[in-house]
């Protein structure tokens, strides 16, 4: 058979590798800064400018690490491994270039918009609608290039790494499109199409599976290529690959609701989330086993080779995190972990251990290959390994500790039946842990800087191999499978079939959970007293979202005695029907705000937002002085009310035209009220809108209880 000559392009993998390391460093640095901000609020610099406060910085950190660091890591792996596994060149260099520059543009736009307070307010999906569209387009470019390559392959069967690439691609596309359904109000502002409970379910269906299909499955593909390559041993078990691939993608998608245990989400959905999370343990562990057992007979190499050391810890961290995750989705464990630092510890074991170490291992293996040389210093890589491991431990342990301290303090009652600790007592107790955590993060980052130096020196010492020549025979059109060949090999020969099967499997979980929540009325019992936000409150809510308050404050009181006593009556599904988007939050660095309305006087909020420690000594909240100087932009009221009504919020027809009159009346009444407390401020300021919103929170239902008691 005639051999065809072709070339593997190394340029794009190199570009993506550089992007991975660059954004990784930036993302981690932002993480370290955010970590220090929690311990030392002065680092928010919010007296000087609004852009760097924790509420805006934290989304940049998460987005940078997930989509910039890990994202580019995925693309590095795909652009390097896919052609080689298929014995062909990447289908289109041009599309590859568009993909690369498009993705980097998205990252820059993301950073700029998020720091400017342009956000949808949905965690890990904060980017506004124009960027969402751009992401979709670039994702399609990536998919085209990937499938173009697959369809022009010279290898009959697809290797397991490619199954993971395909499933990840199609699922991320589905998740992104469904979760990003939003109604634009202006170029930089949109409202989530879904409201309240439904929005929460869609969001965590997305959020959970972003972890699954962005941070996990593509990296399993990466592992399946680079780990056996680096250790030069055969993959442990082909049939385990099959079992764990299909079960993983099918089961993962159902587990989203475990992020909403004990919330106002219908309990059947919560139970489904828990049940599937438990079933997820072994499918996840399949990947770990195939990784670790592949090293069998080569453990002597692991002792020597830093690349393998990184891989071993990465796979182990994956195993730990995927066991911990299902445990966290058990109701009684979740009661402790939810809203606490436990979740933070959990994701960082995954991110720093699994994603970080796998990426570092890949880089230490790949960069010398790309530059046709040896790694500059193995010893330094070994040092990086130990520093990184220490960093992870120093990060995780204080967070676990803090989580348990928090839990036991939060639920402590005195014999008289009072809460034993104020929220601020808890904050004060865990600040030292925040310091330790930030140090752990800094140590980890130091290791990364060591790696950059090492790789830089490696690249300098070698010369870049832009193209690698290869040859292979073309695939014959006709193919008769040998007798007795395994049934699954049929799917491995048909990439489109694999794509469709994956899509069907990953759709099921979503369909079964989302559709009933949207269609069955009884899931969200209506509460007559719940009314739409007034125009001023709506504007205040958008400020709340802009400043990323949801990063530290939840708006969801769980039905626990210690939460009801602390925050007020537990939250009901019907209370959130006009919340586009929902703001339940996922972490309580500050107290829950679901029933903040009426708890304190306006002047308290006024002083507190200006300087939190004045009202709440020991608070670590940033101050927001700029809200006292900036005027509220009321030109948007019209379009905001209009958009809300389009999505079913019952504002009367034509209300948008007069909305600003109501807005001004309400603002004036707040200003007048503040005047009673010797505070003078124009009613046009942003702070007035924010106070209006905060004073509204959770009050609809208070009205109901008040009326029912009078009726009695």
């Amino acid at each position: 058979m005639e051999l065809e000559k072709f070339y593997y392009d190394n340029k794009l993998p190199k570009m993506f590798a550089i992007a991975t390391i660059t954004w990784g460093t930036v993302g981690m640095l932002l993480g370290v800064i955010a970590a220090f901000q929690l311990a030392f609020p002065a680092l928010n610099f919010s007296q000087y400018l609004p852009n760097l406060s924790f509420g805006r910085l934290r989304p940049v950190h998460t987005n940078a690490v997930i989509f910039a660091f890990v994202g580019n890591g995925i693309f590095t792996a795909v652009y390097y491994s896919l052609p080689r596994l298929l014995k062909t060149s990447m289908w289109s260099k041009k599309l590859g270039q568009i993909h690369f520059w498009g993705w980097q543009t998205i990252i820059v736009l993301a950073a700029v918009t998020l720091l400017s307070g342009i956000t949808t307010g949905k965690e890990y999906a904060e980017l506004e609608w124009p960027i969402d569209i751009l992401i979709t387009l670039i994702w399609v470019v990536f998919g085209l290039n990937m499938f173009g390559t697959i369809l022009t392959r010279r290898e009959r069967h697809l290797y397991v790494a490619i199954w993971f690439y395909i499933a990840s691609w199609v699922t991320v596309a589905m998740l992104h499109i469904v979760n990003s359904m939003e109604l634009p109000v202006s170029l930089f502002k949109s409202y989530s199409w879904y409201a309240g409970v439904q929005d929460a379910l869609v969001q965590w269906w997305y959020g959970h599976n972003a972890v699954a299909f962005f941070l996990t499955t593509p990296y399993l593909g990466l592992m399946y290529y680079f780990l056996p390559k680096a250790v030069d041993r055969p993959v442990y078990s082909y049939r385990l690959s099959i079992i764990h691939f299909w079960s993983l993608i099918f089961i993962y998608i159902w587990a989203g609701p475990h992020h909403l245990l004990y919330t106002a989400l219908p309990e059947w959905a919560q139970s489904l989330g828990t049940a599937f999370s438990i079933m997820l343990i072994l499918p996840s562990w399949g990947g770990m086993l195939n990784g670790l057992f592949t090293l069998r007979g080569a453990w002597d190499k692991v002792r020597e080779d830093p690349v393998l050391k990184f891989f071993v810890v990465a796979v182990t961290a994956y195993g730990m995190a995927t066991f911990e995750g299902p445990m966290l989705s058990l109701k009684n464990v979740n009661a402790i972990s939810h809203y606490s630092d436990w979740t933070i510890a959990h994701v960082h074991v995954g991110a720093l251990g699994w994603n970080g170490f796998l990426t570092f291992g890949m880089m230490y293996w790949l960069i010398p290959k790309l530059f046709n040389t040896k790694l500059y210093s193995r010893k330094m890589a070994g040092t990086h390994f130990w520093i990184g491991t220490l960093g992870i431990i120093m990060y995780a342990i204080p967070m676990y500790w803090s989580a348990f301290r928090t839990y036991f303090m939060m639920k402590a009652f005195t014999p008289e039946g009072q809460l034993q600790y104020q929220f601020i007592d808890v904050v004060q107790t865990i600040v030292p842990f925040y310091v330790l955590r930030a140090i752990g993060g800094t140590i980890y980052l130091t290791g990364v800087i060591l790696m950059i130096y090492n790789l830089w020196k490696t690249a300098k010492a070698g010369s870049f191999v832009a193209q690698e020549a290869a040859e292979a025979p073309a695939l014959e059109r006709k193919y008769a499978a040998p007798k007795g060949s395994f049934w699954h090999s049929v799917i491995e020969r048909k990439p489109i079939l694999l794509l469709i099967l994956s899509l069907v499997l990953v759709s099921l979980g979503g369909l079964f959970e989302l559709i009933p929540t949207f269609l069955v009325k009884s899931n969200i019992p209506t509460i007559a007293s719940v009314k739409p936000y007034t125009p001023l409150e709506l504007q205040g809510r958008d400020i709340y979202i802009r400043e990323g308050c949801y990063n530290c404050h939840s708006q969801m009181i769980r039905p626990f005695r210690y939460e009801v006593t602390r925050y007020g009556e537990y939250s009901k599904a019907g209370e959130f029907v006009y919340d586009h988007p929902f703001q339940w939050g996922s972490k309580r660095t500050g107290p829950d705000l679901a029933r903040e309305g009426g708890k304190y006087p306006n002047s308290w909020h006024f002083n507190h937002m200006y300087e939190p420690t004045s009202m709440s000594p020991g608070s670590i909240m940033p101050s927001y002085p700029f809200m006292f100087e900036n005027d509220l932009d009321i030109s948007t009221t019209n379009s905001k009310i209009h958009a809300m009504r389009k999505m079913g919020v019952p504002y009367p027809n034509g209300y948008e035209a007069i909305a600003n009159d109501d807005l001004k009346i309400q603002a004036d009444s707040i200003t007048a009220n503040l005047k009673n407390d010797k505070i003078n401020i124009p009613s046009s300021r942003e702070i007035i809108a924010l106070i209006a919103y905060l004073q509204r929170l959770g009050t609809d239902i208070k009205v109901t209880t008040a009326t029912t008691t009078t009726i009695k």
């Binding site: 080689r84 596994l85 014995k87 290898e155 069967h157 290797y159 397991v160 790494a161 290529y225 056996p228 390559k229 055969p234 993959v235 442990y236 078990s237 082909y238 049939r239 385990l240 690959s241 079960s247 004990y262 309990e267 059947w268 139970s271 828990t274 049940a275 599937f276 438990i278 079933m279 997820l280 072994l282 499918p283 562990w285 086993l289 057992f293 069998r296 007979g297 109701k331 009652f413 014999p415 008289e416 039946g417 009072q418 809460l419 104020q422 769980r558 039905p559 626990f560 005695r561 006593t565 602390r566 537990y570 708890k599 006087p601 002047s603 308290w604 002083n607 004045s614 009202m615 000594p617």
Partner: protein, 374 residues
């Protein structure tokens, strides 16, 4: 034993059914699983003893040992057997004690039952593994002799098939795949992996069944209600015994250490709105003669305890103990007349305390402040 456990279960079950009208059938399901699991456990334990007998009797020649070894195995086995059933019985019995709290009843019960099932599964695995080990230890020669009609040879085959292939034999399970030089073996999926996967699936189905179909597990609202009910009972009992049942009718003048405590409470909580010196900021001035809600100790206590939410004073009764509130109120009285700099303007009515010596007995007068009225 089994009978006892069933009877005990029945007893535990009935009152719950009657009192709440909810069928605890998920627990019943667990009992059934637990009982059913006893069957393979019994079989395996017997197999284990048989295997052990074969192994040890073949290798041991001295007479007494021949009797002793199997005897030990039987003993161990029966004691374990008894243990598991006892655990089951106690689990059922223990839960009867908690019958008053429905949520606790099912929770404890389920946890107990699950642990019984867990122990049973563990024993099954232990027996299975030990049996396999014993069989493997038999020499190959012996096995080949009676391979054709021996059930153990079937186990043996399965067991070797369930293990790692030694590296030298890897070529036998090489799939022949080579992707960019990456080869794939076709090792079996570890049996513990498959077993655990099946168990998690059963757990998942059971979990959903229990909470959503049988509804034998408490819903989150039921859990909340029982927690509150329990707290109320505890609180009532505490109040019966507690000496510090201070309320607005009996709050007394305090001195010394209590005032120090009151100062602490004031500075951490009240100072945010009333300023550290009590001069007032968001909240009113506490040092002057004018009070919105009365300046007597009892009034202060009441204001702190219940608050006047419509005026911005929140209720502290959930967060401060009666003693703390009394201390804070007493401390506030000491601020009277301190004339801090830059105070908030007077609000409310002029209040004059007659006999400052014993506030609780003094008749307090409220005089309308004509200045303010006019």
């Amino acid at each position: 034993m089994l009978l006892i456990s069933c009877v005990a279960y029945g007893q535990a079950d009935v009152p719950a059914k009657v009192s709440k009208g909810i069928v605890i059938d998920a627990n019943m399901l667990l009992v059934i699983i637990a009982v059913l699991l006893l069957i393979p456990l019994r079989i395996l334990s017997k197999t284990f003893i048989a295997a052990a007998k074969r192994h040890y009797l073949d290798n041991i020649n001295s007479g007494p040992l021949k009797v002793l070894v199997p005897l030990c195995f039987v003993l161990i086995n029966t004691s374990l057997w008894a243990q598991s059933t006892t655990a089951q019985a106690t689990s059922a019995v223990q839960t009867t004690g908690n019958a008053q709290s429905w949520g606790l009843l099912t929770n404890t019960m389920t946890i107990m039952l699950l642990s019984v099932i867990g122990i049973e599964l563990l024993l099954i695995i232990v027996f299975a593994v030990r049996t396999m080990d014993l069989i493997q230890k038999k020499s190959a020669k012996e096995l080949s002799e009676d391979a054709s009609h021996d059930i153990f040879s079937w186990f043996k085959e399965k067991w070797t098939a369930m293990n790692f292939k030694p590296i030298e034999e890897e070529y036998k399970i090489d799939t022949g795949h080579s992707y960019d030089g990456i080869r794939e073996l076709d090792n079996i999926i570890p049996p513990w992996f498959t077993t655990a996967f099946i168990i998690t699936i059963i757990f998942g189905i059971g979990y959903f069944y229990r909470y959503q179909i049988a509804k034998s597990g408490p819903s989150q609202i039921q859990e909340y209600k029982s927690a509150v009910a329990l707290a109320e009972i505890q609180h009532d009992e505490y109040l019966k015994t507690a000496a510090n049942a201070i309320d607005e009718s009996n709050v007394k003048i305090m001195t010394g250490a209590d005032l120090e405590e009151g100062k602490k409470t004031f500075q951490t909580i009240c100072a945010a709105c009333h300023r550290v010196d009590g001069g007032g900021q968001v909240g009113p001035n506490l040092t002057d003669d004018y009070w919105i809600h009365g300046g007597a100790l009892k009034d202060l206590f009441k204001t702190i305890k219940y608050g006047y939410p419509e005026k911005g004073m929140i209720s502290w009764k959930e967060q401060l103990s009666p003693a703390q509130m009394a201390q804070a109120a007493n401390y506030i009285l000491t601020l009277h007349g301190t004339n801090p700099p830059n105070p908030k303007e007077k609000q409310g009515t002029l209040y004059v305390a007659e006999a400052a010596s014993s506030d609780t007995t003094s008749t307090t007068k409220m005089k309308t402040d004509t200045l303010i009225k006019k």
